[in-house]
Symmetry: C2
């Protein structure tokens, strides 16, 4: 582990709510710098996508992460929900691309396995383990999912030994 400080932005994209969490790691312990949910409002789709895009741009601008981490999508429920998720995901990836932020993707099971010790862990279990790792965890599940993927990245990038054994 090096002493260089790393900042990673975890994102959990959604068409109505996009969770985010920013972790920083310089020394041994990662710190939760910020987390929250970007709401897309109830306007038309182009305006909702603009809210997500601008929200993510704002967080990138404020915290200057080197990496944006998000869930890899293997199996969507169906083609309709995959399309809707894809649209939100597209503008998140775009915000990263325009800002020159590297994107890393992790399979959902790997995230849960890394953070909570089991690929089948539920959202509440993940949240409790985040509290254990970080001292606190966001109460909103979209935000804690985003923090989980950021923490997973710190582990797999060799920054942190978090795998629960």
């Amino acid at each position: 582990m090096t002493g260089v400080t790393v900042r990673v932005l975890g994102i959990d994209p959604g068409s109505s709510r996009t969770g985010y969490g920013v972790l920083e790691q310089g020394g041994e312990q990662p710190r939760l710098l910020a987390s929250g949910v970007i709401g897309s409002g109830r306007q038309g789709l182009p305006q909702r996508l603009a809210r997500i895009f601008q929200g993510v741009q704002e967080v990138i601008g404020k915290y200057q992460p080197q990496v944006l981490a998000l869930e890899e999508v293997f199996h969507a429920k169906n083609a309709k929900s995959a399309l809707v998720l894809g649209q939100a995901r597209g503008v998140v990836l775009l915000a990263a691309g325009l800002a020159g932020v590297e994107v890393c993707e992790y399979a959902p099971r790997r995230i849960k396995q890394t953070v909570a010790g089991s690929g089948g862990a539920d959202k509440r279990q993940v949240q409790r383990m985040l509290e254990a790792w970080l001292g606190r965890a966001p109460q909103q599940l979209d935000a804690s999912d985003a923090v989980a993927v950021a923490l997973c990245h710190l582990h797999w990038a060799g920054r942190l030994e978090v795998v629960a054994t």
Copy 2:
């Protein structure tokens, strides 16, 4: 039909090639102002989405359309292809949203029915009918699909009687 000039930008989004076509209608006959394909290159996904986004922004900036028209997606082949299409579609819709351009969607069958007289028309038939309506049609199929949805919009917005009977 009014004498006000309308410009509509048709878009056929894709992860590697995004077709576009700009139609203008002032008098009786619509005019094809521009058409082409925005290639996304072979870089990583965030960079490819940035190319699509910037390409669409450029066309919007140059031609100032009032409306962006695109295919409605009901049935994607599968969840994987729906996700990929959704990501490209998301950045196209975003470009419209940020520019304040209205978005109109049309079902694929309605586009073919309107332009070529049959909901089951193939891409070549659509292309030939575009030549008949506009005097010329783009040779690239992604671009001619984009022009077709723009022409469909002119019809359904009451600007043009194009239904083949």
